[in-house]
Amino acid sequence: MTRPPQLRIPLQGTEARPTTVRGNPDVFYAAVAQAYAQAETVAGPVRLDYMIAGQHVRLQFAGPALVPLLTPALAHLAVPSAAAPPGLTIHLWETATTGSAAPPPAWAYTDFQQNGLIEGFETDQLSVVFELGSNALSVVGHADGHAYYWVKQAAQVPYYDQGSPLRVMLHTWLSRRGVHLVHAGAVGRPAGGVLLAGRGGSGKSNTALAMLASGLHYASDDYCLLTNTPQPTAYSLYSTGKTHAADLARLPFLRPAVSNGDRLATEKALYFLHRHFPEKLIAAFPLRALLLPRVAAQDATTYRRVTAAQGLAALAPSTVSQLPGIQAEDFRTLVALARQVPSYALSVGRDQDHLIATVTALVDALNAGSPPA
């Protein structure tokens, strides 16, 4: 029997001597907490509170360096600091301005996995992820409501993490509370809306962002949160959007919102929508359907009913593959959603006005209790 290959990144030590022995996760967690405490002593705390899908989450920074990189995408969910303790406090720091570094890895360098998980460091008490793209360490302590995020320097946070910060950490903590991160766009009205599901390049982001020019509201273009009880509900997590620079020709109203205009040769255009379209953002709505967009070589936008299995196949693979440590409950939530709401294949035409009108009419029909057959 051939097992699927485990994915290892070849790490080439120079003068480094990476550990070859796997240490104790609890000892490592305590050392991370201590390193943060030292950083905060040097740089002072910056506390910002958010309400994410009904959960009170605090970001506590050691100094301000990471604040302008990791908070703008969450600004629409900010709430005044409350006396009541939050459900989760995420402690964030960088070494460059605090002088405090995370403790050395407590595992062999061969334990780094391509998806960010660390062999032996995903337990009931602790989740440790090191994302090799951004080289950020994320540690979640499930027992004490604290989590830690560390990078060597703020400048290394890539633009895509600025657009969807702390994604893995929030997924890890929220999923244990029945709130699941999904790879999907979400647009609608307070009475109800739709998820836009599909792998990268399917047209989720363009379709979601196009709705900013409609009467519908915007909850996400790429990642949002989902609960199934008492009814399927989508929650906004990030007030950002990303498209290829070439897509601005179809979405010219977004030009003033481009935040990284000097780097479009190497980055997707990143929009912080709360700065430019705050009235268009929506925190949550009941879910009425899954839309599966596909770019079509036609002018008009059309849709047709498809099976629940097709809806699930559009939603689940990219969600599962992007979330290290996915649990059975995450998958079952997606299955339940696909069973609870209808799925429609959306052929996205070239005519933006027709796209907007078609999706708007579909959402309104769903909210009126008349889902098209």
């Binding site: 001597r17 050395p104 090799l132 649990q327 998958f331």
Partner: protein, 140 residues
């Protein structure tokens, strides 16, 4: 054909049947699979512990397939499932009672459909150097 039983590799493999289609996820790899029609029916039988020879007879009884076609299809399916680490052989299965031949549906050889976005990410595979503290950083 030997009558080999297989077990589904729980807990890392989870599966659900939705509108007659079986969807399967390997939680360790994040890969997502689906089986429909005869494949979905065979998965359900596999889960019950039905051995491969009996699975072939199941196909013959329920689908318009001869013995050779049925055996080849079953062997191809279990080989594909095992190669993806979704099932593993557990030994000789207890023989099932004969299947009664009722109406037989047209037979389409089952195919394990694999859906994954991970491959796009895997192709990046940058080289990382480990610094003096043991943490990886991107090679300049």
């Amino acid at each position: 054909m030997p009558n080999v039983a297989y077990r589904i590799n729980t807990p890392k493999v989870v599966h659900e049947t939705i509108e007659g289609e079986v969807v399967i996820i390997n939680l360790d790899s994040g890969a997502y699979y689906s089986l429909d029609q005869a494949g979905a029916a065979l998965w359900a039988e596999l889960e019950r512990g039905t051995g491969t020879a009996d699975l072939a007879r199941f196909v013959e009884a329920h689908y318009q397939a001869d013995a050779g076609m049925a055996a080849a299809a079953v062997q191809a399916l279990v080989t594909a499932l095992a190669a993806e680490d979704l099932v593993q052989a557990t030994g000789e299965a207890t023989a099932q009672p004969p299947y009664s031949n009722g109406q037989r549906a047209p037979f389409v050889a089952p195919v394990l459909q694999k859906h994954t976005d991970m491959q796009d990410l895997l192709l990046l595979d940058p080289i990382h150097e480990v610094d003096e503290t043991g943490w990886p950083s991107l090679k300049a």
